[in-house]
Symmetry: C2
Subunit: 342 residues, 2 copies
């Protein structure tokens, strides 16, 4: 598969994006990377690296969308941005997938504008993989939409399920709806209606899940509106960082701190590895016609590599088409089937 | 002040509630506790304890509302529950405040039913205090309401500000609105409208805050709808527990784990103390006529004691009246003032 990588995207671009591309082609057999962005900068980064030259190419795009740029401005004015031109390559069939650690709002906007939604999909959604005690779960929507309707949440459930099964390899994903109580009747207007709709599908729907349980590893897909999902994602990130900083500070403050730190270092390393978003290969924008993976702005080269691998697998099995087929089959849940599964 | 404590509320009641009451009267000078609930069980718990007998009394209530009981059933059928009878005592003026670690939904329902909202308040809200790197912040609403309107969020901001200033002693609280981007224009329909309204008050409004920043200690009050607030509260609780469990597991799994644990123990203890909800004295239900404090279901006797102290202070300075006055003054922000502060 041929994957376009936004070489200019992310806090440490183009250094880590180019590194990630090189590591990927050296580490895999079937991925070809097109680095898109400022040719001079990319070539400079590539200069002293070893890699099979036929599997990395460079495409020039003169503009870069800054992380804090308003999307409307980026869309109207930056016709030659790496994000726009990269997605254009997918549209033209010159590449199979697009990966960016840059402006996620711009990626969404251009993906919608240029590729459009898959048949049967009302709104695309971001599916983010998060670690738990017993392996990861998928949070969908992690921020593509605000003010979702229940019918959108139903589609997120179907898309998250399809992604989890086909890309993460979970045979029959346990799908849950994020709410503020486990009982069927708990929640707000949106979740109560979504509960009814999701129950009417053939999904392995385990009902509502509360915030305190999402990290227990008891479900595989957590469905919510993108505003809530984004808050959950960012609260989790902020809290995890805060806890680690507070703990380190407390350890530094005690007499035996230096020794404790020394003895626990391998454990910290293992912990970091298990909870590192870099291990989880970026978040796909599901529901668009094509494959787009959004990586964390602070992506390391490993995160880029894993995102490229996710893009490769998603594009190879055509997750977008799987989603389209499943949504067409299930979006109007038939009443008798709903009753039988209830 | 005379505080009614729901002796039957919480996972370890009546043991820890009675312990908490005894610790409180032994530790303070101005608090009198009325233990309400099953007299036989309470008397049994009190039997071997030392305390000034004139400062603890027992009131019998024959029924207990179970944690998983539907509120509607509890309200209709349990006329003699400890929660109902406890709030009734506040209503009749026989006590100044009510504290419960029991069914929070039932506390809210009976508080609304029996005490009603303060003048100028549309909906009460739960204000929960959460730890950060640099001292606590108040999250409001932490779950009293779902499907709030922007005008509700404005009131939550005013109530949270009043509580933070008068009870937590922060002179000019920095009030922020929880959203998914820092810019004024980021968010959903609800937060965008609420942003405009809160900006029109004389509050020290610092704008939107993202989930990742709430634990940085940069704001004192975080305003959001109760569905989101409850999700944030529970995700934080679940994640903090998960991180500590994962870390302990990783430490146990390495060869030097035992030593590391030994050397870091005092640090863990300090960390636990700083992040223990028990230190933060329960969450007031703001906006009702009277003082009601909701404690964590897993409250320890220390958490109960701190909740009783919060209740004491809140009732003494009449936070409910302060809120009522402030809301009456500010609920209709005058346009010119809004422009001047913008």
């Amino acid at each position: 598969m041929k994957i376009v990588l936004d070489a200019m995207g992310g806090d440490y671009a183009p250094r880590v994006t180019v590194e990630g591309a090189v590591e990927t082609v050296n580490d895999t057999e079937d991925i070809e990377v097109v680095l898109i962005g400022r040719e001079d900068l990319i070539t400079e980064e590539l200069r002293h690296k070893r890699y099979p030259p036929e599997r990395i190419s460079v495409r020039h795009a003169s503009e870069v969308i800054a992380m804090d740029e308003p999307i409307s401005v980026a869309v109207r004015r930056k016709k030659d941005s790496s994000i726009r031109q990269g997605i254009e390559l997918v549209k033209k069939g010159e590449a199979h997938a697009f990966v960016s650690a840059g402006h996620s709002g711009a990626v969404m906007a251009f993906a919608l504008l240029l590729l459009g939604t898959s048949e049967g999909v009302s709104r695309p959604a971001i599916a983010t993989t998060m670690p738990t005690l017993k392996g990861p779960f998928v949070l969908i929507d992690a921020g593509a939409n605000v003010d979702s309707e229940a019918s959108n949440l139903l589609q997120f459930a179907l898309m998250g399920n399809a992604y989890c099964r086909n890309v993460l390899g979970v045979e029959r994903p346990r799908v849950a709806l994020l709410s503020i109580g486990e009982e069927d009747t708990k929640g707000n207007e949106l979740t109560k209606e979504a509960f009814r709709l999701i129950k009417g599908t053939g999904l392995n729907f385990v009902g509502n899940i509360e915030g305190k349980d999402i990290f227990s590893g008891s479900v595989d897909v957590v469905v919510c509106d993108g505003f809530i999902g984004n808050v959950v994602l960012k609260v989790s990130e902020g809290l995890a960082e805060t806890i680690m900083r507070m703990l380190k500070q407390e350890i530094a403050d005690i007499a035996t701190g230096r020794l404790a730190y020394l003895f626990m270092k391998p454990a910290l390393k293992n912990f970091k590895k298990k909870t590192d978003y870099a291990e989880y290969g970026g978040a796909p924008l599901l529901g668009i016609r094509g494959t787009c993976i959004i990586s964390h702005g602070r992506s390391s080269s490993k995160a880029i590599k894993n995102a490229l691998k996710t893009a490769n697998l998603s594009a190879r099995i055509r997750v977008d088409e799987i989603i389209s087929t499943e949504l067409k089959n299930k979006r109007k849940p038939s009443r008798p089937a709903a009753k039988a599964s209830a």
